[in-house]
Symmetry: C2
DNA sequence: CTGAAAGCGCTTACAG
DNA sequence: CTGAAAGCGCTTACAG
């Protein structure tokens, strides 16, 4: 097997002390340019890399961020919500750019998750990501905060919630998509998705919906809000129960694309045409949403920006800054399911 | 700020030596049960966690695996191939189960990637994941091997390639899907995807296709294989050029789902009905593939098993075992695009 | 079963 | 600008 070179090996070869090697490799201005070049050349030749364990131990940091991705335990383990996967990509890139490694865990929340990372010095801070039931882990967030752990959370701002959160402007998103449907002449709205404190992001989207309805002078019946979690199946079931209620509906605003896909399947099973009879909209703009038939009108969240801001703010937090909530803009993606565009029809056959 | 407890703090409180604390926390059989319980109780109370940097430095390991995900630089940064995202989920879980943390990086291959991880003791081994151009990074794999770095690679087995690879049985996959189409009466096949050493996985799929054709006594013209990388756009362009060639075709086997989606768009733009006039199949069974119209017949790779085996084999490698290639079974997912099933038709309107 | 001691490979205050 | 030395917080061979 190979023996890894250490800074002492380099010191021997370069004829300087180990301290000087360390300084030269960290580009310390204290060290003579010639000495530094020589040391760095030898280091490169020996394929030397600073031992992170030793360096981190000495410096009492880790240059690592931890990402904890959690979801409703009800959803299929292997099928992570594509929206978070996209966030994952942007967070990875943003932390690499900032010179931090990223430790990733998709755990279900267990008793130790809050402690596992920063407490053991494996990570300098934690990014929390997921559409879980907020009420379930409130206490854990409080504990994190008490312990002085550095963390940022993706999601809705909630005054009762500890810690800093960064999220899309879900109220605006719900508002915009509803206003768009109203402009297209829809009048009888349903909202599918959990609208409670347990799901503050969905709740915000729902608040936006009702705001737009109110502004347009449309009455909104609270029974037209049906609970659902973010799965296709849950969206299907919620829509079935909506249809069985016999209430008049010509627009279904769904809290996520997965829910919307389930809603579309339910409408189809009931021989209801989309968008002619009922318009459907989603939220997230996951890749599949452009392949449904008709293609789904949805809200695009800026995942690239979100990842960058999560990382940037977490690093600021680690450096002792005080941060407040951040709301990111969302963007309406108009396709066929809302009835705004002519569908490029499949060839019938 | 908080002060993290150390093993010395616990030793003081427990009235034992720091060595005993360390032993007790690692469940050493050497230590008296009562002592151990007492130490562990105090540790829990103080929220103590072993400092990983110190522990890893001392033990000369990291209990961490690194996952390097790379893709064709041509594909959009933010849109990681959903197939790999699914692998990522299963690898994360498998390494957590094995007690390892997972460091994730989506880097483009730079000069240092091979060294960054194991050399700096940040990770005990590396998992490589991606459909890149193999020829581009052969040298890097060789260098990894020379240095004695522990790594496993997801992909095709290639005798010329250094290191251990784990992959799906792509030849079988190409064979099965083609045989299925032949059984449905298709006779004029095209294959879209790169069939060269640069893309050994695609090449294997193509080999499977030609094998099935041969076995069925169908002639196969090599001009019916069109190069494409794994993007919707590339599949679209390749199909356009196929159609312009005017050659007779009633089945297009695509090397990936993304390519197949592009192929379907091109067929539609040319007013060619799927599957009546031309059957189309994909590969990977990404989530979107069930939402295309018609839904895509494709090959499912067992990502859960794949992740588990990648992790298991890497750990064996780290422990000094000799490993050979592993081929995982694939499974045909029959939907409408091959013409086998009646489509549950959209309501026309 | 327990303790005192060495040492993992760095970084950095201190002295020159 | 450079070196000798301390020390980060553990684990473990050694001695009892």
């Amino acid at each position: 097997m190979r023996d890894k070179a250490t800074s002492i090996d380099i010191a021997h070869r370069a004829g300087v002390s180990q301290s000087t090697v360390s300084r030269a490799l960290r580009d310390s201005p204290l060290v003579n340019k010639e000495t530094r070049d020589k040391v760095q050349a030898i280091a490169a030749e020996l394929n030397y890399k600073v031992d992170k364990n030793a360096s981190n131990l000495r410096r009492q940091q880790s240059a690592t961020l931890a990402l904890l991705l959690f979801e409703d335990p009800t959803s299929d383990d292997s099928l992570i919500n594509p929206f978070f996967l996209s966030m994952l990509g942007s967070i990875t890139k943003a932390s690499a750019t900032a010179g931090y490694d990223l430790l990733v865990s998709f755990q279900n929340l267990n008793d130790d998750w809050h402690a596992e990372y920063e407490d053991s010095n494996k990570a300098d801070g934690i990014i929390l990501l997921g559409y879980g039931d907020y009420l379930d882990y409130r206490d854990k967030l409080s504990k994190l905060e008490e312990q002085g752990t550095h963390f940022v959370r993706w999601g809705a701002h909630d005054a009762e919630h500890p810690g800093v959160s960064i999220g899309s402007d879900n109220i605006q998103g719900g508002f915009d998509i509803t206003q768009h449907l109203i402009a297209l002449g829809r009048k009888h709205f349903a909202f599918i998705g959990g609208a409670s404190k347990a799901c503050p992001e969905f709740l915000d989207r729902y608040i936006g919906v009702t705001k737009a309805l109110q502004q347009a002078g449309l009455v909104h019946d609270e029974s037209m809000q049906i609970e659902a979690i973010t799965t296709e199946q849950s969206g299907y079931e919620a829509t079935q129960s909506l249809l069985q209620s016999g209430k008049k509906v010509d627009a279904i605003v769904c809290a996520s694309d997965l829910i919307a896909m389930g809603a579309m399947r339910a409408l189809r099973d009931n021989d209801i045409r989309i968008p002619e009879q009922v318009a459907v909209t989603g939220y997230d703009n996951i890749p599949s949403s452009s392949f449904t038939n008709p293609a789904l009108t949805t809200m695009q969240q800026n995942t690239k920006l979100a990842g960058e801001i999560l990382v940037k703010n977490l690093l600021q937090l680690i450096n002792g800054a005080q941060l407040s909530q951040v709301l990111l803009p969302v963007e309406l993606v108009v396709r066929q399911s809302c009835g705004a565009q002519k569908s490029t029809r499949q060839l019938a056959n």
